[in-house]
């Protein structure tokens, strides 16, 4: 079996080459070109494009996008985590867990055109819920609950954020062993103490990592906001605006610079998420 030790690595590199070439050509090459152009606006090394990308309306865009993504990630994270904990503790309807599991796999993919349509029919001006609330004398628009309002967008984003958090947290929550709770109980700890000293420290890294993933997920969502409010001041919509009007020279550099900042932000979030996730893996696997 070990007669030809060289064959293995050679074969491995044989399949690695097309893969690396593919990723290099279609993902890394365009990305590196954008990053390079972002730091060389107009052909010479300089940071004014990167500075302009964080000033004026573009600064507003970043602030709005970060606020929207952060809010929907935090709320979605809390609800998703609570849902995972609740489902683990409830054993009775046997169909509950597999149903939620399949549904979450589906719903976490639903962000897009159809989701935007669904919420236009729900909280839009002629929406079902808007009409019902009006029947109770409540004008939902006054609270920002319209497809173009801030809280309206948060409500829409939660539709894919909650299931994503549920999916990400379920392995960690399942890793909490019943024996730990029993051990805490027999050593005289109260339920509160068990939560404070065992559950929260164990779940915190996974939960924080999950929230970061949700943040990334919301930040890059495009289809939903495009359908609901194409003129909104959010980063993805500003990128569209710059891309479609790139006849004006200089605007192209601005687009590249915005994308560069987006990549930096996403990369930082995902590296932090991976580090937090690694801490969780060490105890869920053992």
């Amino acid at each position: 079996m070990r007669a030809s030790p060289r064959r293995g690595p050679r074969k491995a590199s044989l399949v690695l080459v097309p893969f690396a070439a593919f990723v290099g050509l279609f993902l890394l090459y365009p990305t590196l070109v954008v990053l390079y152009k972002a730091v060389t606006p107009g052909g010479a090394l300089g940071f004014d494009a990167l500075e302009r990308a964080l000033s004026g309306t573009y600064r507003t865009g970043f602030i709005n996008s970060i606020t929207l993504s952060g809010t929907s990630a935090l709320i979605g994270g809390v609800i998703g985590l609570l849902l995972a904990l609740t489902v683990k503790s409830l054993r009775r309807p046997a169909w509950l867990r597999p149903t939620l599991d399949s549904w979450s796999a589906v719903a976490s993919q639903l962000g897009g055109v159809a989701l935007a349509f669904a919420f236009i029919a729900t909280i839009g001006a002629q929406g079902f819920l808007t009409k019902i609330l009006k029947g109770f004398g409540i004008n939902a628009g006054d609270y920002g609950i319209s497809p173009t309002g801030f809280w309206g967008l948060v409500v829409v984003y939660l539709y894919f954020q909650i299931p994503l958090m549920f999916l990400v947290m379920m392995p960690a929550v399942n890793g909490l062993r019943e024996t730990w709770r029993e051990a805490a109980a027999i050593t005289g700890s109260s339920a509160f103490r068990y939560w404070r000293s065992v559950v929260i420290p164990l779940l915190a890294p996974a939960a924080l990592g999950g929230v970061l993933l949700l943040f990334v997920n919301a930040f890059t969502a495009y289809a939903t906001v495009y359908v609901l409010n194409p003129s909104g001041a959010l980063v993805p919509l500003q990128i569209r605006f710059l891309l479609q009007g790139n006849v004006i020279t200089g605007e192209e550099d601005l687009g590249n610079a915005i994308v560069a900042w987006v990549i930096v932000l996403l990369l930082a979030s995902l590296i932090a998420m991976t580090l937090l996730q690694r801490r969780t893996l060490t105890w869920t696997r053992s």
Partner: protein, 295 residues
């Protein structure tokens, strides 16, 4: 470790103590709170779907809808009109082909790579795992700028075709595909199978085609279903490169025929959800823990 040992040794005494404790403290009120919470979350997920279905299939404007009229005017006419629209038909064809090509390209690149990494060079696994996470860092809305800056100028004929989307869709499906395939390979102990087949004199190609691939059918199905769902939902990249796929055409169509557009979107969503849900359920039945979130 010691706590677990103690707990395991005293398992019986512990669990009775535990349930009595729980029953005394919290069973009744807590389970009411839990059920109420799950009910509210369920309501949040169901109401928009019902509202969408009402809008799509009931030909009564919201302003005229009263409780008595709730069952009037339901019909599928909007859906049939949308489904016979030539623009929608041709966009559907494009999207179906895109799904097929993206799945084929993705599997062609990742299936041999995942298998050979697992049986020959497991040290590469974390590298592959990290590389296949890159699409999260460079999402469609970011990459489209790079593609416009490079391919559009250098090889304009390439972006002229609708099928230039295929390599990019294969890229964004990688996080899902690789994790599904990897979970499948782990579950069947691919390395042991490989070594067993190898001792009996099988060649690497024979092992991959006749031993490993037939055993990870469920994982391949999951990878394909996740890729299909991703391609059928992708809007940003296609729209910004001015391609006509089903999602972009749906937005277009909906402007002229809101009811038909919503009906179509609902049907596409239900079909995708059913396909994906079935695959996930069959995976869970086999005990495969595939992370469908793609991380």
């Amino acid at each position: 470790m010691t706590i677990e040992d103690v707990a395991a040794r005293r398992g019986v005494a512990l669990s009775t103590g535990g349930t009595r404790h729980a029953r005394w403290r919290s069973v009744r009120p807590a389970s009411v709170v839990k059920s109420a919470f799950i009910g509210m979350v369920a309501l949040y997920f169901i109401v928009p779907m019902l509202a969408m279905a009402r809008f799509a299939f009931q030909n009564v404007p919201m302003a005229l809808l009263t409780p008595e009229k709730l069952f009037d005017g339901w019909s599928f006419s909007g859906l049939w009109t949308a489904l016979s629209d030539p623009g929608i038909i041709s966009a559907t064809k494009t999207s179906v082909l895109l799904v097929a090509f993206a799945i084929a390209l993705n599997l062609a690149l990742l299936l041999p790579l995942a298998i050979i990494t697992e049986v020959h060079n497991p040290r590469l696994r974390p590298v592959l795992s990290a590389v296949t996470l890159l699409p999260w860092v460079i999402p469609p809305i970011a990459l489209v700028v790079g593609v416009a800056a490079t391919f559009r100028a250098a090889v304009p004929w390439f972006l002229a075709s609708d099928f230039s989307l295929v390599p990019f869709y294969a890229l964004w499906a990688m996080p899902f595909t690789y994790r599904a395939l990897d979970a499948g390979l782990q579950a069947i102990n691919a390395r042991t199978l490989y070594e067993a087949a190898r001792t009996m004199g099988a060649s690497l190609t024979t092992i991959i085609v006749r031993v490993i691939i037939p055993n990870i059918g469920a994982a391949i199905a999951a990878a394909s279903a996740l890729t299909a769902a991703m391609v059928l939902g992708e809007f940003a990249f296609a729209s910004l490169l001015l391609k006509t796929t089903l999602p972009t055409e749906m937005v277009n169509y909906q402007r002229g025929d809101p009811r038909g557009g919503l009906a179509l979107a609902l049907i596409v969503m239900i079909l995708t959800a059913l396909a994906l849900g079935l695959v996930v359920r069959s995976l869970r039945r086999r005990g495969l823990t595939v992370q469908t979130a793609g991380i």
